[in-house]
Amino acid sequence: MPVYNQSRKNVIRLIFISLFVIIVLRLFTLQVITSKYKVLAEDQGTFRKVVYPDRGIVFDRKKNAILQNTNISDLMVTPNKLKGIDTMSLCSILDIDTAQFKKRIIDLIIKNGRSRSSVFEPLLSEEKMAKLNESMFKFAPAFYMQERSVRSYPYSAAANVLGYTAEVDTNFLKKHPGEGYVAGDYAGMTGIERSYEKVLMGVRGIEYWKRDNKNRLTERLEKGIYDTAAFAGQNLYTSLDIELQELGEKLMQNKLGSIVAVDPKTGGILAMVSAPTYQPQYLTGSERRKHFSELFLDPSLPLLNRTVSATYSPGSTFKTLQALIGLHEGVITTDTRFSCSGAFYGCGGGHAMKCLDKGTFDLRHAITVSDNTYFANVMQRVISNPKFPSSDSALTHWDNYMYGFGLGHKLGVDVPSEKSGNIPTPKYYNKVYGQGHWNFCTFRSVSIGQGEVDVTPLQVANEMAYIANKGWYYIPHVVDSIEGGDKYGMLEKYRKKIVPTNIPDSIFEAVHDGMQNVVEQGTGIGAKIKEIAICGKTGTVENYYKGVKQPNHSFFCGFAPRDNPKIAIMCVVENSGRFGGTYAAPIVGLMIEKYLKDSITDPAKLNRLDKLSKMNLIPPRIDAEIRRQDSIRHSRDSAYLMAKGFVRLVRDTVGIDDDQLDKDDLEKSNKSKPGDKRKKDSTERHEAVLPSKKKNNQRHRRP
């Protein structure tokens, strides 16, 4: 056969080679130059799984775990795989209707996108878990369950101190950039869960997994060489005495108010009761949302930690401090006597402050009977002391004492949302009355702890620790130590002894004498315990709500034993009526006995305990509010909440340290501005029920 067309073999070769070259070039761009496909492959073929370590456990002073972890599952959904899911049966298991189902899915798509999985139903109840487990095959792969560790409270006490964790919101994420939080994470929202979030959360680990086309995780990528390990959160050892806390909560049932007990030697908080409180496990688990909105709407404000977030006029408990200042300033001696013929006339006759016991008293006796006139005279002498050129500088001097005693500023306790309280300043009076247009008589009620002075229960307890220690204190704190070391220096400030003034022991002794007499034979006899020398002081605090006088707050504060103080304690029962000695003193007495003797055995005392714990002292105002709220329960909308000021309040409870707010409060508490009275009363005098209308922040409102 002739080979006519032999040259054509080269054409054919050329065709082969050129097409192969084109293919190789294309492969080069695809594999070497373009990085797009590598990213896409990583996106779909691998999965970055965050491993959540267990949060740290919190122990009380006897090493009982008071806050630990259990496991609950979340139902997760990946919206783009929803096709062909048996929606009806899922809805019936979860007890929702299809419209809700759709809405949730759409919300999640908006929030997290179609292909990423998000939490459809968090924290399933055991019943739902069991049902879902049976029929999970119907809902896979769009739905799956993910276990997560949830907080549990073995003692179901100290809810306000320990706080709760909740899903972080966008605001939280904005405030904590670069700390590894993503939407859907849980973080501490209140209490020490919040203040020690950094140590409790631990270090998250990351596992890289291979993922298949059904979005299932198949195996570790490269056998886990890129993974980082998770470290469990650090455990916290607190100074809380959980039994004391439980007793306090029992005693404060059906009351508004708080108890704070501090170990004066260390500043460690032994008990921190805010009443009413709630079952801490209410805010974990499947019913969290429902419970939250219930608590949130409760007019008695169970979410508010009254021990640090509510401020009151200290009333007569303030007199102990007045005595210290008077003695140290030398304007009185322990033997100085003032007499009261029925009222304090040092400022003339108008609106004279009455005293309960007529007669002539020395300092010790004046403390014992809580004589108003005596301490009005003391403060008048301090303010009118000729050593100061004006009331201005004298008041500044007085203020410095008060600041030293831990009043008028935040103490820096490790429980969030502490209020600073208020000590009236010259600047304030200058603003209200004008420079030089005011003197002691303008604010004479301050001398007996009424008027512009405001304190938190914690500040009062700390002040007792200061008096008990005769001149020093540690900043009160809940957490004593952190297991594995205090990496962030969070506990440093609690190790520093604070010695504000050099008041000699003799002065303290005099005040102690008076205070011991209060319990032995004075107004605070309800706190008396056999064989224990208790020093105490009652307070009966007048207060107003929306301009209407309310039943008095019952105050009692003290410490024991006198010579070797082991507990400094304060109790307030809001709007209980009667006197400080009536309710607060016996409560304190029982608390001290429990703490010092470890148990209460005396049948009479047990009887009293029983009676006190069953006593309902919730003011009728709250009941009225509850009834009113029931009638408008359907209007649980934001407008209502904002109008009621609940939003602001709850935000306070979750601890926004907003100095601006404090300033605003200060300006609002302008006492003498006519026409402003109503507002003042509602914001200033009723600290625990603050329907302020400003800064309505919906941040913590939940559907």
Partner: protein, 449 residues
């Protein structure tokens, strides 16, 4: 005895045989990497023939047996029987209309129990042999258009059957017989026309007809301008340009839209357009309401095709320069690429061994092709040469289209990667094709008819 003496090891083309073995083993390993998951009992799987890789191994063994048989067969058998084999092949294709088994939406399979036979595949062998037989007849004068027509007829008769069976992709394979025909003296104009037809078709897909016509007009005017002087001497050039322009414009303006509207099935058109990254513009809008239900179901399929190519590109693209390593490909292990063990087997190589691995495989294939061309050219008999070129052309078409498919340069038309894709039909077809060639080559000293 005479023949037996003739078949000694030295006469066989070991290069082709080794390339065959290497590529087949690479293919087997790729199939293995697609299916293997950690902690599997490989021995048990291989013995049990449960996994595709074990079946492929089994097919390779059958292939070896077949190859041995072919090498032991008298080469005269292949020159004597093409006509009857061709008729049998065509008959088998006809048989699929009667006993056809539906595999992946195509009826072109005949069930054989342990495997399914696809006559369109095997018929390639018979067609190659028949073409070789026809062209090697002493009385055939391939310069005559009558012979050219008959040769084309032999090649394109199976195409008709393929099209009837909705196997457009496999039908296209038969167009590669143009290459051996070209080698034997088929006028190149047909090759050029075919190529420009292809180019125009692709352009017709990429650009709207109006713009394309405008472009063609500009091209024609430029040609006239530059060829002005030559045109004065040869008037016919103007005619050629003008008629070429008219035909092109008519083709892209009318024929392409017509084809997409009326010739192709909608899913085919969608598939083709999805390859070039466009929506099918030739959806019949008038009947859209009537066919709404159908389109929605078909849409799913169109998306699926798009998904295949996308996943295929992701797998290959993520391989990088050196690849992720054997059995370490996340896309392969995660089953992201559909049909990865058959049509998309190249992706597992691309992901696991990267650009370097791909290039080496391409070199192996190119080596095989060039070796076959070399072998073809050393044949004394026309029969062997035509057959060798047919084998080269078929392998070339399969490799080029399959790989272009996986990297998004060609539409997904179900063409396997020779010797690598899973499947007995494909593997055995190529084994037979190649070993007949080796057998014929071993007897190249004889003048065969």
């Amino acid at each position: 005895m005479y023949q037996k003496k003739n078949i000694n090891a030295n006469d066989k083309d070991w290069v082709i045989i080794w390339l065959y073995i290497i590529i087949s083993i690479i293919g087997l390993l790729c199939i293995f990497s697609v299916e293997y998951r950690a902690n599997e009992n490989i021995i048990k799987n291989i013995m049990g023939l449960e996994k595709n890789y074990s079946k492929q191994l089994f097919f390779l063994v059958i292939g070896a047996v077949l190859a041995t048989f072919i090498l032991l067969t008298d080469s005269k058998f292949f020159t004597a029987t093409p006509n009857i084999l061709y008729i049998i092949g065509i008959a088998l294709m006809g048989l699929t209309f009667v006993v056809g088994k539906n595999v992946n939406g195509s009826n072109s399979w005949i069930p054989l129990g342990f495997m399914n036979l696809q006559p369109v595949e095997t018929c390639k062998i018979f067609t190659a042999l028949a073409l070789a037989k026809y062209l090697s007849r002493p009385e055939t004068d391939f310069t005559k258009s009558r012979s050219q027509l008959i040769a084309s007829g032999i090649c394109f008769l199976p195409v008709v059957f393929s099209l009837l069976q909705n196997e457009t992709g496999l039908a296209l394979v038969y167009f590669t017989f143009l290459l051996p025909m070209y080698r034997e003296g088929f006028p190149p104009i047909y090759l050029i026309l075919g190529a420009s037809f292809g180019v125009l078709l692709v352009l017709g897909l990429l650009l709207p007809p109006f713009q394309l016509s405008l472009g063609l007009t500009v091209l024609a005017l430029m040609a006239i301008y530059f060829l002005k002087r030559r045109m004065k001497r040869e008037k016919s050039i103007l005619m050629v340009i003008v008629s070429g322009w008219v035909i092109s414009v008519v083709f892209v303006g009318l024929a392409v839209p017509f084809m997409f509207k009326h010739v192709f099935q909608k899913y085919q058109a969608d598939r083709i357009f999805s390859m070039v990254g466009r929506d099918n513009p030739y959806v019949d809008k008038d009947s859209s309401q009537v066919t709404a239900v159908i389109t929605t179901t078909k849409k799913g399929k169109g998306d699926n095709e798009n998904y295949n190519v996308k996943q295929s590109k992701i797998a290959i693209g993520s391989g990088g320069l050196l690849g992720k390593g054997f059995l370490k490909g996340t896309q392969t292990q995660g089953d992201f690429v559909p049909e990865q063990h058959t049509d998309f087997i190249f992706t597992s190589l691309g992901e696991n061994f990267g650009f370097v691995g791909c290039t080496i495989l391409m070199m192996l294939y190119l080596g095989l092709l060039l070796r076959i061309v070399f072998v073809a050219e050393r044949q004394r008999s026309t029969f062997s040469r035509v057959y060798a070129y047919s084998v080269a052309a078929i392998i070339f078409f399969h490799v080029a289209i399959n790989i272009c498919m996986t990297i998004g340069l060609a539409p997904v038309i179900g063409i396997t990667l020779p010797l690598m894709s899973y499947g007995g039909s494909s593997l055995l077809t190529f084994t037979i094709l190649i070993f007949i060639l080796v057998r014929l080559d071993a007897d190249r000293q004889m003048v065969l008819r």
